[in-house]
Symmetry: D2
């Protein structure tokens, strides 16, 4: 299913080179103001063609809202948004049906759908489907902000170059403002040059690179989530793995915590300004699956873009023989900068569904 | 919710020191033979008290099957299993209601449930609730085996000591047999001594250690799963984060892939014995959220047990002041060895629900 | 699935002659007092053996609460209740596997489960499975009452004998008290004698009779439910059809409204004591799927018990030939009086899930 | 929620006078041919303006398929269909926000959405939202037909004039063909004149009339559905109550069965042409919630259209006083003929979800 949610019901639809892509979301309450300019800012952050880390395609990702918002206010009925597809060069993808691209869904989708799926541009598996996700996230985060909950993410690494991580106990509003409007979101801006260098080097070598995105949800009150399968980690992970190319997620110290002692990893409680807080936040703001009131912090691993222009070995499903393939078309050597707004969006979706 | 599943509906119930714990699972088809001895082997692997890595409590985790299995065959009706609680020392937990344990759900559950949750032994948040998960997994994996799908996991690390990882393209049945019956599951058995040493050292210091569990699902045909929120990664992650103490998950190369080039990370396809396979399996057997026919491989990060006997700082919710706490009771200095069978169980649950 | 609910997750389990039957319900909030004596009153209303309208079996339907309620207060964790099976005479059902009873699930369950279902006493299809439903309803209605919502039902007809219907605009608390404690719930008690006469006559003729149950939910505030598939009618219908033997449901005037003019059927609005009310309540308290604040009124059709002692024609699945059957065992000639508490219970479940 | 389904996920969106209405359906398998002309026939049956039983509005209900169908074949990705709104006269509805129409959702939606819902033309509650339902049903029934399952319905009554009911044991293909293409579907065509007379009489009196629709699903194999909340009745009822104006549903003999003896109502089994069948079909093809292989038969009660031009009493939410209202605009004096295709559509949706 391309659907998510318990309290909300979200379905993302569309194929990369079909008539349009979009999303329908049911369960958004009535009476919330939605500033469409803020939505467009988020969509612009994800859109390709801004600079040389991204593909040169120019998508016009204008979201047509068909329902659920009237005069800038949610009506309580399902919100449907459609983005028409234009500027598609389907010819580039002609031979992919026969020769599946390594690292892509071509082969597995072929098996699942018996060859009936729309292969053009990756079809329903295209990274382009993250545009409606960003639309939905941009709507929901405005509602969350009206409840005091804010979300921001940054490029925490590209290849081996790492950005400074969030201070997990104290993330101020100015940083959130900056990051959540940036097209190349970094805490330490000096890391932009070396990161771009890695990406440019990959491009020159007809190759690609991956990276990680760190995301924080600030202002979520204590007591949200629950034990076992109701936990925040599971809900957020389910949403984040909905983004193509994500292969890992960790909360708080995550994998690093496995090498710590309990006495190092446990976050001690204390009273501060009359509120219960933890001195550290190794748990990423989640204990027993439930929010502690500290920032929710997680990190997503994004694999290097599988579409590379180097020659690769693959199978020819038509001839039944091993063959070679050179992927044509315009591809991002690194999708991590664009993925930042997508990670924020699905975090908003997951948190909204939990409330 | 303590519930999981789309095609199956699983609910885990019970509190650690209440009358009993158990699980109900709806949607298991009729006519499958279930060998209860095999179920008991899995439950014994999880049970505490086997050796010094675990608590000295002796739980009698005998699963009483109340419905859904008749004469060793599934009837198609919901399966309910209950494990009666015995040998509980509730007195040890008397002051936890006032002074929440760092790293535990005590505080967050207190907020969520307004103090009405059963705090004794961790209540519904206790690691003891993984016993019914192992029961359910042990039933479902027998059905999966009848479809040619096998599951095994091992301790891939405790602290900094790492076991040899699975060969991701070729996992033979003998290894699966050995691991899935072992109480201290390792590929390289020479790692047992140094791992036990780390655990024993933590115990002597009234401390605890974490680790990772690597799990493989072998024999899943290509074409299972789907795009976006239907992906295998999201389904498995949701299930695995249902295990208390899990703080991260990665598939295939996972976080390591973020430092690789696309040309290194992409798994090239080839024909082998007439079947389409990949030469490497960095994707962990999943492309576009769909199984490729290669083994599904993932790794879960398990934080050090939060229950440690060292004095820690916490808050006293009664007095409204910062205070200290020494946690009493019997606790595992390392739950990773016992967690292996739990990870296998939730993997079985997730895969069963996907089919 | 034997599962129900969006906000709550209810699963009913067990087979009539297995080890036990019961229910697990997840999603019940913490902190509500549950009076177990009130629960037992509801279960006694459903239990057989009270008088000659019912079977002579004596079931000891004592509900063992295994989790989720501590010291008479909900903990927020799933509530599991088990009723052990005793006093079962399995021998009576020996030949049903070969010769399915007309009007029963024997044949259809045989097809669905390939003969692996537990046929004894109807197995998972037994009317006995309504006992855990009554338990769950009896718990949830106590929570609803703490929110000012009350539920009552009565035998609105047995055969052609009809009870006086509810006054749909004004149902007083005294009537609700009386009905919801009665074992033969009627508004006009003079109808008891002629109704019992019909039932007794059916019994003497080795036959059975059906009837209808009318149910009212009072105190539900306006604004609950929603358009299309979110409507109250759909949610209540789904729950009520979960009761074996129900073959129809209508809200407000229901089928009779189809012969009325719009000007007769429309409920005009007016202000009364400062509140918006309707002068009539032909809609059964539901407009556009949403509660109007007036009582919710619905009527369920219960078919005559299919288990009759008259000789009937059926097939012999063993011989592949048409054959005859005389059903043995103890059976209710009319289940309508006992069904009243079950209808109230599922109404409570549906309303609780809507809130 | 405006969403339905377990195996499929359907969301209907849009407001009557907004930009567009439509539906998204996830979970439709790949590789099924869809004949769009057949879809348009079904949509034409529902469309208004055909004759004097319907409103004089001319809607151009052309369904734009945005995704999920490529070259007339399902791709396996979600299908999104949009119908643009044109020819809307919003001015007619200006005062409804203040003075809710009796029998309509105006008041209850006002309470639920705090006045933020789109009131124009009924908004998301408009009967116009059944157009996308018919689209979805028309797609799914083509897939069902490829599995041998056919659906047809007819006007079983308007006011007191009744059509001949289906022969429940034998419904031939020719009748199904005729009914499922008809704009005024009747088994006994002589009933058309008296039915139209009733409708015309209501129109002349500025009033409206209701009626019933009987629907049959033929070819569903035995063994579909399940006990308790998995039953066919509950699934179909949930879908059918998704149609605005439906206030009751009954399966097989339904309410009439409550006045029958068990020996009359039970359907005896026999072998016929080597297959197990029932001699009668009072159960409507469902025993224990599971299909028996006989036709599924149900009847839906449709209340008289609440929009009538007679003066009615209502409240003025602005002044807080009781007031009068004359509803303007173009309204159907009877929606039953148009509802036939909608009932067929939701039956297709429910059955598809069950398989």
């Amino acid at each position: 299913m391309s659907s998510y949610g318990d309290k909300i019901k979200l379905t993302v639809f569309g194929e990369s080179h079909g008539e349009g892509i979009g999303a329908v979301i049911d369960g958004v309450p009535a009476g919330y103001k939605i500033d469409m300019d803020k939505v467009l800012i988020q969509m612009a952050r994800r859109a390709p063609g801004k600079d040389r880390t991204a593909t040169t395609r120019v998508e016009k990702d204008f979201p047509n809202v068909k329902s659920g918002i009237l005069n800038g206010v949610t009506t309580g009925a399902p919100i449907c948004c459609i983005i028409e597809n234009t500027n598609t060069k389907s010819g580039d993808y002609a031979n992919l049906m026969d020769k599946p691209r390594p690292g892509h869904s071509d082969y597995t989708a072929y098996v699942k759908y018996g060859g009936h799926n729309d292969i053009r541009g990756g079809g329903h598996f295209s990274g382009r489907l993250t545009a409606p996700l960003v639309f939905v996230g941009a709507v929901l985060r405005q509602i969350l902000e009206q409840k005091g909950i804010r979300i921001a993410a940054h490029i925490s690494s590209i290849g081996a170059v790492e950005d400074t991580p969030f201070d997990p106990v104290n993330i101020d509003n100015q940083l959130i403002d900056e990051l959540s409007a940036s097209g190349f979101a970094l805490i330490d801006k000096e890391k932009e040059a070396p990161m771009r260098e890695i990406v440019e080097s990959a491009r020159m070598n007809l190759d690609s690179v991956g990276g990680t995105v760190e995301c924080a949800v600030v202002g979520l009150p204590a007591g949200v989530g629950g034990p076992l399968f109701e936990g925040i980690e599971g809900a957020v992970a389910k949403a984040v793995f909905g983004i193509p190319a994500v292969k890992g997620i960790e909360f708080g110290k995550g994998f690093a915590a496995t090498r710590m002692l309990g006495s190092e990893n446990n976050d001690e409680f204390e009273y501060k300004d009359g509120r219960v807080v933890t001195k550290t936040n190794n748990s990423g703001g989640i204990l027993g699956g439930i929010s502690s009131g500290m920032p929710i912090i997680f990190r997503a691993a994004i694999k290097p873009t599988p579409s590379i222009s180097k020659e690769q070995t693959t199978v020819n499903l038509q001839t039944g023989k091993t063959d070679t393939l050179v992927v044509k078309g315009r591809h991002d050597p690194c999708i991590v900068p664009r993925a930042v707004s997508v990670v924020e969006a699905v975090a908003a979706i997951a948190v909204f569904d939990l409330l």
